[in-house]
Amino acid sequence: MKKHHALSLFLASILIVGFAAVAGSGRNGSDLPAPPAIGTTIDDFKLPDTDGAEHSLKSLTGKNGAVLIFISVQCPVSNGYNERMEKLAQDYKAKGVNVIGINSNATEPVAAVKSHAAEKHFTFAVLKDDGNKIADRLGATRTPETYVIDAGGKLVYHGRIDNSQNTANITSNDLREALDEMLAGKPISKTGGAAFGCSIKRAS
């Protein structure tokens, strides 16, 4: 029996060391945090706005859901979507879905995020994710990158806003189509989409 205990301890130590190695390999640029699967309930979180006031995800979510958008002050792709994001916020607020901007870039201080939001006339909430904790939790890697959460708190869409930075070339309005399907109570036909964007600059 002692031998069995020793063997069990040996195996347990291998498992512990192995998992530590996996955890250690997690947050670098070759192995970015994985996003939650579609259908996952997103746990509530709190982040400060650009004036330092804390808001929970739940408190900012509209009666029919929320769109989280990871945004940037400097990224030209994110900035190329400013007007589209504001229009989206206005169009869907009336439908009970609130847009929430999140800035997780370690290189963009809250003062810059505040002046950028004012300059671009954002009417939606913009939160500052110091230490990129929420970007890590949601597996966000680029700007702009969006997450649609339904009224029940479930993730129903994760990905791009549309297929082109250039509004003249848009042929696939993925985010709006997902929102419209969600609001109509239909299954989401396309639950995500990839697009080129700027890497979120994580705290080292």
Binding site: L7, G18, F19, S30, N169, A195, F196, C198, S199
Partner: protein, 195 residues
């Protein structure tokens, strides 16, 4: 005593499973590796990076498919002039290209700038960087099929860097500005020593 053998088997299985988990960057991603083993047309070196050629999705796939007659390890960097991290890492990539070209590294730089900038912003930046690697500009209406052709796990965040060995396996990938020492260490394992 009878329990020992099954326990050993479980232990071995656990170690194997963990080894698989613990080295995701060392294992080929399905999207690239499976395609990269197939043959494809030879992609010649271009030493005048100021001439940026336009490619479409098929052109990108050809690059990823490799040429069995070209056994050189392949480094691909996806970037754009509008991307801070890309501009930040570019001098390191130029140095890596200069240091490893004669040691057998094939480096292809894929720009995601607008095609309207193929004769202006992109070559201007390359000239400023004194870049000599082959540079292509990917012009696609929808980026999603191109991104997935490279790697199913990539969502398009730039910059992104992939290193393939001679068999087309991804041996290194990095999202965000590279750490030069890490990339050099990965390349060192694939190319011949300094002459």
């Amino acid at each position: 005593m009878r329990l020992r053998f099954p326990l050993l088997l479980i232990g071995l299985a656990a170690v194997c499973a963990l080894a698989g988990f613990a080295a995701p960057a060392q294992t080929p991603s399905t999207g690239v590796a499976s395609r990269a083993r197939h043959s494809g047309p030879f992609v010649p070196d271009g030493l005048d990076a100021t001439e940026v050629s336009e490619i479409d999705l098929e052109g990108l796939k050809k690059i990823l498919q490799r040429d069995p007659k070209d056994p050189r390890p392949l480094l691909i960097n996806f970037w754009a002039t509008w991307c801070d991290g890309c501009r930040e890492e570019f001098p390191d990539l130029v140095r890596i290209d200069n240091d490893y070209r004669d040691r057998g590294l094939n480096f292809i730089s894929v720009s995601l700038d607008e095609v309207t900038e193929i004769k202006t912003t992109v070559p201007d930046f390359l000239k400023q960087m004194k870049a000599q690697m082959r540079v292509v500009l990917l012009n696609v209406k929808d980026p999603e099929p191109a991104i997935h052709a490279v790697d199913e796990t990539w969502d398009g965040a730039l910059p992104a860097t992939y290193l393939f060995d001679k068999d087309g396996k991804v041996v290194f990938k990095y999202f965000g500005a590279i750490k030069p020492a890490e990339l050099r260490s990965a390349i060192d394992k694939l190319v011949r020593g300094k002459q």
